[in-house]
Symmetry: C2
Subunit: 149 residues, 2 copies
DNA sequence: GGTGAAAACCCCGTCTG
DNA sequence: CAGACGGGGTTTTCACC
């Protein structure tokens, strides 16, 4: 992991379609050298995966909400159950287990408020372990990235 | 936008490296047909971009925090200034302008609590428009994706 | 890490249902 | 109009230096 690797990572974290050829011009290595580094970065898990970012608006998921969830009982089994449920819920983009007021913070995308209401019915009310939750409706997705460099 | 497109999107949103050949087997179209659809999905903005997801842990960004920010004055100019600042701050992965208690919700990744403290000094205290903010430290990144299908 | 050849993949015509 | 085939060009891959 040297400076060249960091340069490559900075570029591909916002555009994974850059060819080894294009990268080689920026970084100053031959295309095969770039490929070797990319392979290593993938194998070692520095690059976790490469994904297509879809437009929520163009796919009818106009509504983004942020939810803070407080659980009723906070023991290992209940925590794991809740985590597993969130991982399997397609409406839940992100789920964080946090310190502070809430136990979990969720970032969700849904078609409309009705779909969100149905989600809360299914996951927060019916025989669940959720004590209370507060909902914030997103008016502007000011910045949405996974960049870390 | 038919069912075939949706199938393609579902696959590439979690793995953008799938070749047209591999996709053709799943979807039941010829590789050129897949490519034509992919091109259209990119051109129309349904696929916004393709990115490499990096491991925060392996790059020394061990700490994720979620911050709720309340502004002092909430007029157009102050809002736009705050949004622009967040977009340009590399520590801020995501920034949402929301209804509810907080004006903004941030998802941030930092090296350690010291870097976060410095960030708050620079962006929240020094001559800023921030009234107050509450910090939640992430103990488990249960689910972090941008999947919407 | 660089070089060069082979393989795989992508993209563009054209054709067909 | 959307999909299937076939070419040529690009990109990736791999052996070797």
């Amino acid at each position: 992991m040297d400076d060249k690797d960091l340069q490559i990572l900075k570029l591909v974290q916002s555009n994974a379609r850059l060819t080894a050829d294009a990268l080689s011009l920026e970084v100053g290595l031959s295309p095969p050298a770039i490929q070797k580094r990319l392979r290593k970065l993938r194998d070692t898990g520095v690059i976790e995966n490469e994904i297509a970012v879809l437009s929520p608006a163009k796919l009818g998921r106009e509504l983004t909400v942020i939810v803070q969830v407080v659980l009723e009982r906070e023991n290992r089994m209940y925590l794991d159950t809740f985590k597993r449920t969130m991982r399997n819920a397609p409406q839940v983009q992100q789920c964080y287990y946090t310190t502070g007021e809430a136990d979990f913070v969720l970032v969700m995308t849904v078609k409309n408020i009705k779909e969100y209401e149905e989600f809360t019915q299914e996951y927060f009310f019916d025989q669940s372990n959720v004590s209370r939750f507060t909902t914030s409706v997103v008016m502007d997705r000011v910045k949405v990235s996974l960049d870390i460099l």
